[in-house]
């Protein structure tokens, strides 16, 4: 995957050191604190010694919570960074990996702002307060916070409507299942994940009203063996299509090993099971980053909230596998067009919850604020939201 590529070399090396030093959430928490400071220092040093960019280019800095090698979330953002560099010759980008949320991130954001970065992107929810603080100290620098909700004049929040492609992948799953049992390996019980399960299930029930979506929480973002085991448990109860919310392709591999189908997430995972891989809900940050850079260049950047959908290309589905019949293909493409055109809302009523109570009446749709706090499952989901 990413082996440095066109990124400024120094920063990758810094990221590497940071990773060696700043392991978060491991049993040696105290070491991580100490070394986290060290890591921030190394990053600052690397940025200071990097090649001086030509003055007229806009410098765009990306701050990642994980390694670009995570094959999922951070990888997708880094693809967006590369897209931006390829599509706009007037920008120069740099990325800092493995920046822990909290005080360490504040130092990294401050450093980037001091170094003359005109646009700084933070891609983790936990950067929120640090970004608010640094943004107030550097009013001339534009900040973008992915997935947050606190804004300022020079701090924008941005996210994507991944529920749209989730719904489309649900249509595919419902059409391909023969046992009417679909397995969903879920990550952590937060509204974002719950929303994904619900949108997917609504899609499934549109093509197979008899189907149920069985949810297993792995309580991980990132543990291939645990995710594989969760997938196995779903296969053992008769699921013949699996999908997932985690970053690794373990679920796709598990389904492929048993000759069943799988739907991926984050990026096209077809190479991990060409015969199993139906499609995936994918992120495509490049167009959004390009758009935001245009705003900064044109002076129109302000503290907006962007929640873009498929119409702007931020989210989409991966190409459908060859086993998907033409009739399903045309149905999915028609719905995709309708969502892009704005004539179809996948979260429009009537929507019933698991107990059969109508939560969203016909004629209305689930509001954005209701989506952001969603903690209940729609009809057709088998499983529980553990917090309830």
């Amino acid at each position: 995957m990413c082996r440095g590529g066109n990124a400024p070399r120094e920063n990758w090396v810094a990221g590497e050191d940071a990773y060696l030093e700043a392991q978060e959430g491991k049993p040696m928490g105290r070491w991580a604190r100490v070394t986290g400071v060290l890591a921030a220092g190394i990053v600052a040093f690397a940025l200071a010694t990097g090649p001086a960019p030509s003055e007229e280019k806009l410098k765009v800095g990306f701050v990642y919570v994980g390694p670009v090698g995570d094959a999922g979330w951070t990888y997708a953002h880094d693809q967006g960074r590369k897209y931006l560099e390829a599509h706009n010759p007037n920008v120069q980008t740099a990325a800092v990996e493995n920046v822990a949320e909290g005080a360490d991130s504040e130092r990294v954001f401050t450093d980037l702002a001091r170094k003359g970065y005109g646009l700084i992107v933070g891609t983790s929810f936990g950067y929120m307060d640090a970004m608010v603080k640094v943004a107030s100290e550097f009013p001339k620098v534009a900040f973008v916070h992915i997935s947050g909700f606190k804004r300022a004049k020079n701090l924008m929040t941005a996210f994507g409507r991944i529920e749209q492609p989730r719904y489309l992948t649900g249509l595919v799953a419902g059409a391909m299942t023969k046992t009417h049992i679909i397995g969903y390996v879920a990550a952590h019980p937060i509204p974002e994940v719950v929303r994904g399960i619900n949108a997917f299930t609504l899609g499934v029930r549109a093509t197979d009203p008899k189907a149920t979506v069985h949810v297993v929480w792995s309580n991980t973002w990132y543990d291939p063996a645990q995710e594989e085991q969760a997938a196995e448990s779903l296969l053992s109860i008769g699921a013949d299509v699996l999908t997932q919310h985690q970053d690794s392709p373990a679920v796709v591999q598990a389904a492929a090993a048993k000759g069943k189908y799988a739907i991926g997430y984050n990026s096209d995972m077809s190479k991990f099971g060409p015969k199993a891989f139906l499609t995936a809900a994918v992120w495509n940050w490049g167009p959004m980053y390009t758009l935001i850079v245009k705003q900064v260049e044109g002076g129109s950047f302000k503290g907006d909230d962007i929640w873009s959908g498929m119409d702007e290309g931020v989210v989409d589905i991966a190409p459908l596998g060859p086993m998907v019949p033409a009739s399903v293909r045309s149905l999915v493409m028609a719905k995709r067009q309708a969502i892009i055109a704005g004539t179809f809302n996948e979260l429009a009523g009537p929507i019933k919850d698991q107990s059969g109570t109508v939560r969203v009446p016909a004629g209305s749709a689930l509001s954005d604020s209701a989506q952001l706090s969603m903690n209940w499952f729609v009809q057709g989901v088998v499983g529980q939201v553990p917090s309830k």
Partner: protein, 307 residues
């Protein structure tokens, strides 16, 4: 038994195997008196080495040998620091975990997201056809069969061979063993390297048998579970197998309960083996009970010959 019960039990064995290898290795190290908290790091390096050499040659057995060698190499680093140089074993072990995590992440960069090959489950001749026992124990990966051999072999070595007696003697009273003419440093060195070898095998199980992929930090704390399991098993290989399958089984059970939609709270179930480990840990910290539980008396104390 119902197919789902059998699936849970088979999953328990599969999930327990990587931890079991690492636990057996750590038992040898600790029995000789050396605490090695670098298991996580050794497993990760083993996982990467196994994945890469399997991907290059297409032969997972070759991958397993390379993984074992890589784990042994990292084990040797700990041995040099803690046995030869008599460094603090806790610090050296933690450093090894941080080092192994970073090293595997760095060297493994180009292998993330590359589909690999690996071991395939193969039904064991005759035994695989038995009802119940077959699907649970004998329709697994070859590395699982290897672990079936490793457990009794480890037990026999520790309790029935002269070398095993020396290992236990060195862990209990290095002075006495030294006086009897046992080379304490050499024996401890060997045990730590053996521990690394087995941790490397556990790692390659994750990257070439459980899944066939490499992702940074893919052990996700299993090395630490192995360290805890040594205490849970009270430094005994047979109890280690029971413990590893129990830890694996509890997790497999809660996943299957979720899949079937049974509305039971699974957190308590997940917590149970750890709670028991804490109880053993508390008991093991009391002098008299410690002896009865089998904690090596000289554990984590560097040996210096006096007089």
């Amino acid at each position: 038994m119902s197919p789902i019960t059998l699936a849970v039990l088979a999953a328990a064995v599969r999930a327990g195997t990587p931890v079991l290898f690492a636990t057996l290795g750590e038992i040898f190290a600790e029995r000789s008196g050396v605490l090695n908290l670098g298991v996580e790091g050794m497993m990760l390096v083993g996982a990467l080495a196994g994945f890469v050499s399997t991907a290059r040659t297409g032969n997972p057995w070759f991958g397993a040998v390379v993984a074992a060698a890589a784990g042994a190499g990292l084990g040797a680093v700990h041995a040099v620091l803690s046995v030869t140089l008599r460094a603090n074993q806790v610090a050296s072990g933690l450093a090894l975990t941080i080092f192994g995590t970073g090293l595997s992440a760095f060297l493994g960069r180009g292998y993330v997201g590359v589909p690999g090959t690996g071991f395939q489950p193969t039904s064991f001749p005759v035994l695989g056809q038995l009802p119940a026992i077959g699907p649970v124990l004998f329709q697994q990966d070859p590395l699982v069969y290897l672990s079936y051999l490793a457990v009794p072999a480890a037990w026999y070595t520790l309790y029935r061979t002269r070398w095993g007696l020396q290992v236990r003697a060195v862990g209990e009273s290095p002075e006495a063993a030294d006086a009897m003419g046992v080379d304490v440093a050499r024996l401890r060195f060997t045990c730590v390297v053996l521990g690394g070898t087995l941790a490397g095998l556990g790692g390659t199980f994750l990257s070439t048998a459980y899944t066939s992929m490499w992702i940074e930090n893919m052990t996700a704390g299993r090395g630490w579970i192995a360290v805890a399991l040594v205490i849970f098993a009270m430094w005994d290989p047979l109890r280690a197998a029971f413990g590893a399958y129990l830890f694996g089984g509890v997790n497999a059970l809660q996943l299957h309960l979720q899949a079937t939609g049974a509305g039971v709270p699974t957190y308590l179930l997940l917590m149970a083996p750890y709670a028991f480990t804490i109880v053993v840990l508390v008991l093991a910290s009391q002098g008299a009970a410690r002896r009865r539980l089998g904690a090596p008396a000289a554990l984590s104390i560097p040996y210096t010959r006096t007089g």
